[in-house]
């Protein structure tokens, strides 16, 4: 994954609350391998039923990389496919007053920024869309629509996005500490390993 610090892009508004991950990608599309490309599944059913008025169906939305929505974006299921759909459709940033926890961490793991702003700022940005915006991870600001808007982002996630870190590589440097911990855990809670604790795993 490539790190990034500034995104200049077209912002589109999705003025809805609770855009859950079932809507971001309906379950029936998730058996496809990632290489199939998930962009076409993004908000599939909503886009179909809402028709040409739906913000993402409008010609002005083509090429957008920034999405603005209302509270609790990405709540619901842990399906990372919801993030794949956004990323594969070209999105780099989602701006909302709050995000589903698991969705937000999945986003960061795929280079997608979940930028948290106030309700008032959300409404102001929504009313400016579609418009060009600059999202800056260095300064934690969104500019391009009147006064700059500050966004919140956990410092851990910010570092990760900017460096494009892969956790598995990072964790490899903790191998010794993990091994020590595992050995201790075997002593203090042997039942965690049912076979070695003489559990009845084999009888089942």
């Amino acid at each position: 994954m490539r790190g990034w610090s500034v995104e200049d892009g077209l912002a589109v508004g999705l003025p809805l609350e609770n855009v859950d991950t079932d809507q971001l990608i309906p379950a029936r599309f998730m058996s496809a391998p990632r290489s199939a490309g998930y962009g076409g599944f993004l908000l599939h059913d909503l886009r179909q039923t809402a028709g040409p008025d739906f913000p993402l169906n409008q010609p002005q939305a083509a090429g957008a990389s920034i999405l603005i929505a209302r509270r609790n974006f990405g709540g619901g299921s842990s399906r990372e496919a919801a993030v794949y759909a956004l990323v594969d459709a070209g999105f780099r940033v989602v701006i909302a007053p709050s995000f589903g926890d698991i969705f937000a961490s999945n986003s960061v793991n795929n280079g997608l920024l979940p930028a948290r702003v106030t309700e008032a700022a959300t409404e102001r940005l929504l009313s400016a869309t579609p418009c060009a915006l600059r999202v800056n991870l260095d300064t934690l600001t969104i500019t391009g629509a009147g006064d700059p808007v500050a966004f919140e982002l956990d410092p851990v996630w910010r570092t990760k996005l900017m460096n494009g870190w892969d956790d598995i590589d990072l964790t490899a440097s903790y191998a010794d500490r993990i091994a020590d911990f595992a050995a201790r855990r075997r002593e203090t809670a042997p039942w965690v390993w049912p076979d070695s604790a003489g559990g009845k795993a084999a009888d089942l």
């Binding site: 609790n72 842990s78 410092p155 598995i168 089942l204």
Partner: protein
């Protein structure tokens, strides 16, 4: 030593290392995988890495499995491929799989506790948001995404930031026909679908203590629907009695019990947030909209968006009523349903089936419906108790165990525009199928809806019956 809440203890017991920026590397005791975990396995394969702790990894075929004709080859090619991929991964990596034909097969969040694989004090993860369920046994359980699944497979650890701590107290005593599902939907309606975001919730109070383990599993299961990172109940004698003798329960039981007895919030330990609900105010509840927060007592009427002061909420309610085909101001118990579903990791344990059967016994369902037990063991137990006869005699289909109509990935779908009274956990647009209209409620309430063909207060139907 400073006083700690239960969650602090679970957290401290699993921290391998904490970085300066606050991210902690946590040890994972249990990793459950299912057919939907294929993205995680694909990432592992891409990196050419092996599964590091096959003995702590348990596989379950639940999300895509057929609930009918289980002895026949799976007709849907996609589903067959998903089930086969999980089999292949279990073979390749050498972990225990509760596959399609395993007598213990079931929905992951029913199976883990039932087998004694989830135990107090454990850190449990799964690529499924309802992993919060496992907290009912005093464990720290949370859902993860595919990238994290790959990380756990490769390292048996997960990076987390410590959530804030919330205590949710349910005081008083549940009235008749009121249970864990009503408690959960009640707090979600009160605090919102993101009301517990970034929090670890501990459920306490007399009404929580009075819940069976099954009820606690339901309560913790729905934590995620209020945005919580996890939910938990401190283990007590109810927990221990329930766990003892389960297939994977510790052989050195007394030593384990000794250690687990520490798993309580210390007196005086402080939470970041406290909320209290009085059971006297909690009635059987149903959802009317497209988020679990859109819930109201069955005695209420459908809300009127024109009377809401918050324009964004009003827009949301309008969209919800439009999708659900409902009009404002209408009494909830006048809404007719087309079908019912009893199943899912939320409400398909033996107690749930008993509660539904208590309402259905000797009665006929006015609408078609399906009952899918939470696990194959629950199915066998229900059959031993004769519950299957009650469902079948009422006119409902008695099928095999799986996620089924909770998410519809196996083809068990609610048709477009049809209205389903459901014991599941999500009434999202299209969750049970494109255009499907879902009303969430308890198993007893779904049974009541089956009997009358509309959303119904179950309480009068319980009179004179053993529950």
């Amino acid at each position: 030593m400073t006083a700690r809440v239960l969650f602090d203890k679970l957290w401290d017991d699993h921290v391998i290392s904490t970085r300066e920026d606050g991210a902690a590397l946590l040890w994972v005791d249990r990793h459950y995988v299912h057919e939907g975990s294929h993205h995680g396995f694909a990432r592992l394969a891409q990196r050419g890495q092996a599964l590091t702790q096959p003995g702590l990894t348990y596989g379950v075929a639940d999300h895509y499995v057929p609930t009918r004709g289980r002895d026949l080859p799976i007709p849907d090619a996609d589903v067959a491929r998903m089930v086969r991929t999980l089999d292949d991964n279990a073979q390749r990596h050498g972990f225990r799989l509760f596959g399609l034909h395993d007598p213990g097969q079931g929905i992951v969040h029913v199976l883990g506790p039932e087998q004694g694989l989830t135990l107090p004090g454990m850190l449990v993860v799964c690529g499924d948001s309802h992993t919060s369920t496992h907290g009912a046994l005093g464990a720290y359980g949370f859902g993860i995404g595919a990238t994290e699944v790959a990380h756990v497979l490769a390292t048996q650890t997960v990076w987390q930031k410590k959530p804030r701590r919330m205590r949710m107290v349910f005081s008083g005593q549940a009235g008749p026909g009121v249970g864990a599902k009503d408690m959960a939907l009640n707090w979600i309606a009160a605090l919102g679908a993101d009301g517990a975001r970034c929090h670890a919730v501990e459920y306490t109070g007399s009404a929580v203590r009075a819940l069976s383990v099954e009820g606690r599993l339901t309560l913790c299961n729905l934590s995620i629907e209020g945005g919580a990172r996890c939910g938990m109940v401190a283990p007590d004698s109810v927990t221990l009695d329930w766990l003892k003798g389960r297939p994977f329960a510790p052989t050195d039981w007394n030593r384990a019990v000794d250690i687990w007895s520490q798993l309580v919030s210390d007196p005086g330990a402080e939470f970041d947030h406290e909320v209290t609900f009085d059971m006297a105010t909690i009635a059987p509840i149903v959802t009317w909209g497209i988020s679990p927060e859109d819930a109201a007592p069955i005695t209420a009427t459908i809300p009127d968006p024109d009377r809401l002061s918050d324009p964004s909420r009003a827009a949301q309610v309008r969209a919800a009523l439009d999708y659900m085909g409902l009009t404002a101001g209408r009494p909830l118990d006048s809404v007719t349903v087309d079908q019912v579903f009893i199943g899912s990791c939320t409400n398909a344990r033996i107690e749930d089936l008993r509660a539904a059967a208590a309402v259905l016994a000797g009665r006929r369902a006015q609408v078609p419906g399906m009952v899918s037990p939470g696990s194959s063991l629950v199915k066998a137990q229900a059959e031993a108790e004769g519950l299957d006869r009650i469902f079948i005699d009422a006119g409902l289909d008695w099928v095999a165990s799986g996620c089924s109509m909770c998410v519809g990935m196996n083809g068990d779908l609610v048709a477009p525009g049809k209205r389903c009274a459901s014991t599941t956990n999500r009434n999202f647009r299209g969750r049970q199928g494109p255009g499907a209209r879902t009303h969430l409620m308890s198993p007893a309430m779904v049974a009541a809806a089956a009997v009358t063909g509309r959303l119904t207060d179950v309480r009068p139907l319980l009179q004179g019956r053993m529950v």
